[in-house]
């Protein structure tokens, strides 16, 4: 077992307005070595909070978050995050961005180039992030995170802002990286198809307060066929559970000031 949340609750409070929000309530989740775990659910269900707890950006209000048996006390290069939003430093070149995350001083440039090669961007090493398309930027962000050599790869809706075509292409690249490097991946997405295409396990979370609703193990090989009966069945079940929850018809699920989805 790689990482674990044990009876974790996370509460956000706004002392000024005297309001509180329970983002996660008594969540227990074990991330197993080498799995590709997809967290799905409506916005405000605590997916990103779960990821931030695993990354160490947030501390649990109750319960315990552990990685390799040790309590998580803060972010660490062992647990790499690929962020949803634009996270490259615009004042650095693509290569410098990747080098920034490297651990150790020796052969920095060669090692960074190696990572760029893995995502097919070695020709853009000297470009500035702002000169790249959205898809290329996220590939650099992936290369930067992989450069840290993390045992656990945390991805927070990494392709959420990309067009469908590019997203599918990058999904496949992530899958290939995962298969080659045998990393453990936790992948947050609100796109059910994306989760079903990628994950070895799909965990559905539901909001108000955020908790784990149900999970499915998917033993199918890749590339998967979205129209196969198993996938169609799981998708139908996920959708019906999503629609049963109050958030599906647009009711507000997070209060202003507690936007824990990081927007």
């Amino acid at each position: 077992m790689t990482a674990e949340l044990r009876n974790v609750s996370k509460v956000f409070t706004d002392p000024r307005r005297g309001k509180g929000l329970v983002a996660l309530k008594d969540v227990s989740l074990r991330v197993e070595e080498g799995e590709f775990l997809c967290l799905v659910g409506a916005s405000g269900c605590g997916k990103s909070t779960t990821l931030n707890l695993l990354a160490g950006f947030e501390a649990p209000s109750q319960g315990e978050v552990t990685y390799q048996g040790e309590r998580v006390r803060g972010p660490s290069p062992d647990r790499g995050v690929v962020f949803q939003e634009f996270s490259l430093y615009p004042w650095m070149s693509v290569l410098q961005n990747v080098m920034f995350s490297l651990q150790g001083k020796e052969r920095q440039e060669d090692r960074a180039m190696e990572q760029l090669r893995l995502v097919g961007l070695e020709d853009f090493a000297n470009s500035r992030p702002n000169d790249l398309s959205g898809g290329m930027r996220q590939r650099v962000a992936i290369a930067r995170t992989l450069a840290m050599g993390p045992g656990l790869l945390l991805m927070d809706e990494p392709f959420g802002s990309l067009d469908e075509q590019t997203r599918r292409k990058l999904d496949n690249e992530v899958l290939k990286l995962w298969q080659r490097e045998r990393k453990t991946v936790v992948f947050v997405t609100h796109n059910i198809d994306e989760a079903l295409m990628l994950g070895t396990r799909v965990v559905l979370m539901s909001p108000s307060p955020g908790r784990i609703e149900k999970e499915w193990r998917i033993g199918l090989p890749w590339p998967r066929d979205l129209s196969s009966p198993e996938i169609v069945g799981m998708k139908a079940e996920i959708i019906s559970r999503l629609q049963a929850c109050p958030c599906a018809n647009g009711a507000p699920v997070s209060m202003l000031g507690f936007d824990e989805e990081g927007t």
Binding site: A55, F57, G74, P75, S76, P77, R79, G80, V81, F83, E85, F86, S87, Y89, P90, W91, F100, S101, Q103, R128, P129, N130, D131, R144, M148, G262
Partner: protein, 296 residues
């Protein structure tokens, strides 16, 4: 890539639409754009001069006072540049004295303002406490610093430099601290995730990300210090300085000399703003990668 650098924009556009080209090039219109910017600047300056002239003529007509007109002032400026004295000294002596005081005051303000700004920007508690005095100081008008400066330093250069520094410090602190505090969380998270220490976080992430805002503070501080010259030089104790000359004109009624000094102050201020800071900001923008257009 269709087209070439030798054909005009309209022809090149038409040709590209005709041939179905996706990208094309045409003769750069940079010269034209610069000329247009220059033209607009000249029109803007003309508006100032016409307003001034109109008010001057109106006052002479209504109140019978000798309000210096633009031509009179320009002639006096020319004579001053040719060596005529203003308040017993050459315009160059006045200008260099003022520039010297301003330079000293601004230098001190930069050291104090940037240091405080960086400290406030990184330490939230210090920010909450420290910004109150900064806002209070910012509200003190230039003239109101005179008694304070006199009580601390008496009459003299030090008091003048003090006033210039005190008016330049607040914008430096506010913009430096604000710029650092507004660095997006994701930028600091990336640094923490990759195990960077505080100094790497500060110098490689916070400072570059906040640099545009810091430059803005430097710019406002510089302008504040320059604008406060008259007040600051009231207590300089020596008959030297552009601000001092303007202040003296109310006693010897040499208003044309005062206008000459005002024009010199405006020209120097504008030159620093347009030549120094605009180019500095463009360089930083370029370094930050913020000057790229989405046109590939």
């Amino acid at each position: 890539m269709k087209g070439s650098a030798s054909i005009g924009r309209k022809e090149a556009t038409d040709a590209a639409l005709m041939d179905g080209a996706a990208q094309f090039s045409f003769r750069s219109e940079r010269g034209l754009l610069i000329a247009r910017d220059l033209g607009n600047a000249i029109i803007g300056l003309l508006v100032v001069i016409l307003l001034w002239w109109g008010v001057a003529e109106l006052m002479m007509f209504l109140r019978g006072v000798a309000f210096p007109t633009p031509p009179e002032t320009l002639i006096a400026l020319w004579e001053a540049l040719m060596g005529a004295d203003i308040n017993g000294e050459s315009i160059f002596a006045h200008t260099s004295a003022s520039l010297g005081r301003w330079g000293q005051g601004y230098f001190i303000a930069m050291i104090i303002g940037l240091t405080l700004g960086m400290a406030f920007g990184t330490l939230p508690r210090l920010y909450d406490v420290g910004m109150i005095p900064v806002y209070v100081f910012q509200m003190i008008p230039g003239l109101a610093w005179i008694p304070i400066a006199m009580l601390i330093f008496g009459l003299g250069e030090t008091a003048t430099v003090f006033i210039i520094a005190m008016t330049a410090i607040p914008p430096l602190v506010i913009n430096t601290a604000g710029g650092i505090r507004e660095v997006p969380t994701v930028f600091t998270r990336v640094a923490r995730m990759s195990g960077k220490d505080d100094s790497a976080m500060f110098f490689r992430v916070l400072l570059p990300a906040a640099s545009l805002s810091i430059i803005n503070g430097m710019r406002i501080g510089l302008a504040n210090g320059w604008r406060v010259l008259i007040a600051a030089e009231m207590i300089v104790g020596v008959a030297l300085g552009l601000g001092f000359s303007i202040y003296m004109s109310r006693y010897d009624l040499d208003f044309t000399s005062a206008f000459v000094c005002i024009v010199v102050i405006c020209i120097i201020g504008l030159a620093i703003e347009k030549l120094l800071f605009v180019s500095m900001e463009n360089r930083v923008r370029h370094r930050l990668g913020l000057d790229r257009e989405d046109l590939m």
